[in-house]
Amino acid sequence: MDLTFVVQGLLNGLLFGGVYSLMAVGLTLIFGVMRVINFAHGDMMIWGMYLAWLLATRLGVDPYLGFVACAAVLFVFGFLVQRSLVDRIVDAPHEMQILLMLGVALVLENVALSIFGPDPRRVRSPLALSTVWLGPVFVDVARLVTFGVAVGLTLALYLFLTRTDVGKTVRAAADNGYGALVVGIDVRRVYAVAFGVGAACVGAAGALVAPILPFSPSAGLTASVSSFNIVIIGGMGSLVGAFVGGLLVAVAESLGAVFFSPSLKELVSFSLMILILLFRPTGLFGRRG
């Protein structure tokens, strides 16, 4: 096994991991704050991708700029979904939430299917048409930019949660919903903001992936499952876990593609996830409860 392949695989994985991390961070935020499992996560990402595609093809906006708009739109969508739907069943058993979000996923995926059709699409970004050589390995500029933006967004989210007042109320509500109510925090609004931010993360992730991979509506549920894998491995409710988990899974999959075969790479992340589920259900960074 040529070392170059391994290093290349590692590098590619790491760069793609930025997106995985962003997806996972969004999901874990929603879970951490509301204990809601967003089965529609991947399908929200699909819409991030399609919105980026629309911006690029209809308005000529590069996805590396357009991702902001995608994030904004998904924020509003997430906010509204939480306010109108999820809020009604926050206290219901988990099964009900799963089914509700599954319903949302079905609607999102198939409206996209109806509008855009099933054929895979791609977005070309003029910012990212080249590759850079670092010795024997090369770096796809698109992936590099995606990685940079994704990490930047995750950092921004971290700062938002720790340094801004809104962010702190979100964390307060996550830590102790009842206590937050008692001190006068509008918990319902906080939940909606958190959901919106989570959706924005994954919307941005979608826009950032659009220049790298071809996408179609049917990838929605699979993307959701990938996000769950990462969050389980990293630890539900842990931002650090989601971030590290994203990088870890992406690298593991990439190396899996190098050592076994590209079509078996998902087996790696599923195996990891199952092992964590069984032996360390709180994940690598999660807390109990």
Partner: protein, 320 residues
Amino acid sequence: MTALHRGLLGAALAILVALPAVLGSRALSVFVFIFFYAYLGQAWNLVSGYGGQLSAGHAAFVGVGAYTTTMLAMHAGVSPWLGMFAGAALAALLGAVVGFLGFRFGLRGFYFVLLTVAAAEVCRIVALNTDAVGGAVGLYIPFTGNAWQLQFQDNRGYYYVALALMLLATGVVALVERSRLGAYLMAIREDEDAAEALGVDTLRYKLVALVLSAFLTGLGGAFYANYLFSLQPNAVFGIPLSVDIILRPVVGGSGTLMGPILGSFILSPLAELSRTYFARAGLVGTHLVAYGLLLIAVVLFLPRGAYPPLARALGLGRPR
């Protein structure tokens, strides 16, 4: 069961048996799907409706059953009527493994759901990469129309087999409902710790329910293979099929006997209608949008499904 209840069921059954005499092939195929999905939904209902252990990976059992039956038919000339039991047995084995891992390690709720999804996805990926079962291309089942091959010249044969399957699953669930297994499953669903404290070996009974459910579902795999004539990993192990299986009982009433059947009668014609009207306009998958909206509506407004209020309205007493 009241006399009214008995009468209604009898009449419904008589109508269903007589329908093929008056309906054309196209209409019959809609019923085949209604019965078949009601069958799969009923099998799911056992472990997820009555037992409360939500599974989003039941396609795994369909796939294992379908591939086993087909491989046996293709390579050993075994009739699917026999092969289906081998398929069901293997599916049951898979169910036992998943159940043992999940339940023994105390996975509940969302974590268990994720395990079932992982199981189906692993099966899908393995099948995609195993040339012996056709890999990504899958398997094609030649059409012979031979009843020994579980194939029929026209839809009437398939109609009756699907109807029989639906009645079989419903019969099994009805028996379970009135048995120790059923009482224990429902207790586990309502409150697992309280059930454990009352002498219920929760691990064992959850496992039994899952294995039985997997067996029945695997049995259906043989029908799937010989009605659709093509097995592809993404279709037969895929999440969309698992979701399709869940939809009927959830909309109709999970944990009730009639739920999966009612749900199937609501959803399958919806799919057919949308295929007829929207597909012409080039809109694919619109029925799934309707499914999604229906699912949302059910969760928000009718969390126990369509059957309980219907039963109350018809004076059928508590849904059983």
